[in-house]
């Protein structure tokens, strides 16, 4: 059993060391989100104009919005992670985001004009973008790899919880107080969730 305990402790430690940057980032960004009023992090930085030019792209009826947006981004040399929406029938809006900044493209189909605006760098927004970035729907391999790392961080946290529980159980002198902590946490969590 000694070798299992050793393996468990080391897994807990090394996994924690590897995931420290993610833990710090998720912790810090969650605090910003929870206290957005203190940091004014819910107020987006102002959009600065980049260009406003004539642009022609035929958008067939029923065309898939993401593929149209991808084509527009490619024409501007802005390939990468994005969201697209069509707030009006004759307008396509694309948000091309990176951790550091965000560019908004607005294509007015009727007027054949494409406008680009960019947000200035703000540190709180960088951390928030990292927090919200995830999923496997973005077109680049980098984004997919980041999503894999997010998965790894989640699985890592679950392994961390499980290995922490095993570590506590194996330390006989801490069982009583540990049991109180586990019970207290579980009961508080269940009570809160059932009433919230």
């Amino acid at each position: 059993m000694k070798s299992f305990d050793h393996f468990n402790r080391r897994t807990h430690l090394y996994l924690g060391l590897f995931l420290t940057p993610w833990l710090v980032m998720y912790g810090f960004s969650s605090f910003l989100i929870s206290h957005h009023a203190w940091f004014r992090s819910d107020q987006q930085p102002a959009w600065q104009p980049v260009f406003d030019r004539e642009y022609q792209r035929a958008v067939p009826e029923g065309a898939e919005l993401r593929s149209v947006a991808q084509g527009i981004l490619a024409d501007c040399g802005l390939e990468g992670a994005f969201w697209a929406q069509r707030p009006k029938p004759d307008e396509i809006r694309i948000n091309r985001f990176r951790f550091w900044d965000e560019t908004r493209l607005t294509y007015a189909l009727k007027d054949h004009r494409l406008r680009a605006e960019k947000q200035k760098l703000r540190w709180d927004q960088v951390v928030l973008r990292m927090h919200f970035r995830g999923g496997f729907m973005q077109p680049t391999l980098r984004d997919t790899l980041w999503a894999v790392l997010v998965d790894l961080a989640c699985v890592g946290i679950l392994v961390w919880v499980a290995s922490g529980l095993i570590m506590w159980w194996r330390l006989a002198r801490l069982r009583f107080w540990g049991a109180l902590a586990v019970l207290g946490g579980t009961v508080s969590f269940v009570l809160l969730i059932s009433r919230l």
Binding site: R142, C154, V161
Partner: protein, 188 residues
């Protein structure tokens, strides 16, 4: 350690809910509809008289009070003849309450339960915006969890440095994690 044991349910919830959100497209294929369906729970007459200048938020709070459903909520509509809609948040069973001032009818709908939606809802529930002690308590527990996360990360570094036999492999893990993180910070 004791803080970790206490906060284990929060950490497990955040990890599981992040997995659900990270694989949203796949998770959605497991259900017949994108969003959980709303089921009509009851419909009743509601004849409470409100002053003409009553704000939608006041009306919403009064309706919830009269229904015995006081708690975290959001109010929309209720102006220019549009129905007033109250989204009553709840971890397990959120409700949508629609009031038509013209017909004095109240419709209460309850969202079908989905474990994936529950996780996502709990993940997003935070902040001190609601005027209820229960919500503040939850927000405080979230604060505690995030401060603990940062503390564990940093205290783990100190712990590793104190354990001499782990320094070599630990340095590779720490440098590997930090290196990858910085690389993606530059690339993305």
């Amino acid at each position: 350690m004791f803080l970790g044991l206490f906060l284990a349910p929060w950490m497990a919830m955040y990890a599981l809910s992040t997995l659900v959100m990270n694989h949203r497209e796949f998770v959605q294929t497991l259900y017949p509809t994108k969003a959980p369906e709303m089921e009509r729970e009851r419909e009743l007459d509601y004849t409470h008289a409100f002053p003409a200048n009553a704000a939608p938020a006041e009306i919403g709070a009064q309706i919830l009070n009269d229904l015995g459903l006081v708690g975290a909520h959001r109010v929309s509509g209720g102006k220019e003849g549009k129905p007033l809609v109250i989204d009553r948040q709840h971890a397990w069973a959120p409700r949508r309450i629609t009031w038509q001032a013209g017909t004095k009818k109240l419709v209460i709908e309850r969202q079908h339960f989905r474990s994936a939606t529950l996780l996502e809802r709990m993940h997003r529930r935070r902040g001190y915006d609601q005027p209820y002690a229960l919500d503040d308590t939850w927000a405080f527990s979230v604060d505690l969890a995030v401060v603990a996360m940062v503390f564990w990360g940093l205290s783990g570094l100190w712990l590793w440095w104190e354990l001499r036999p782990t320094r070599g492999l630990g340095a590779i893990c720490a440098a590997g994690g930090l290196g990858l993180f910085v690389l993606f910070l530059i690339l993305l």
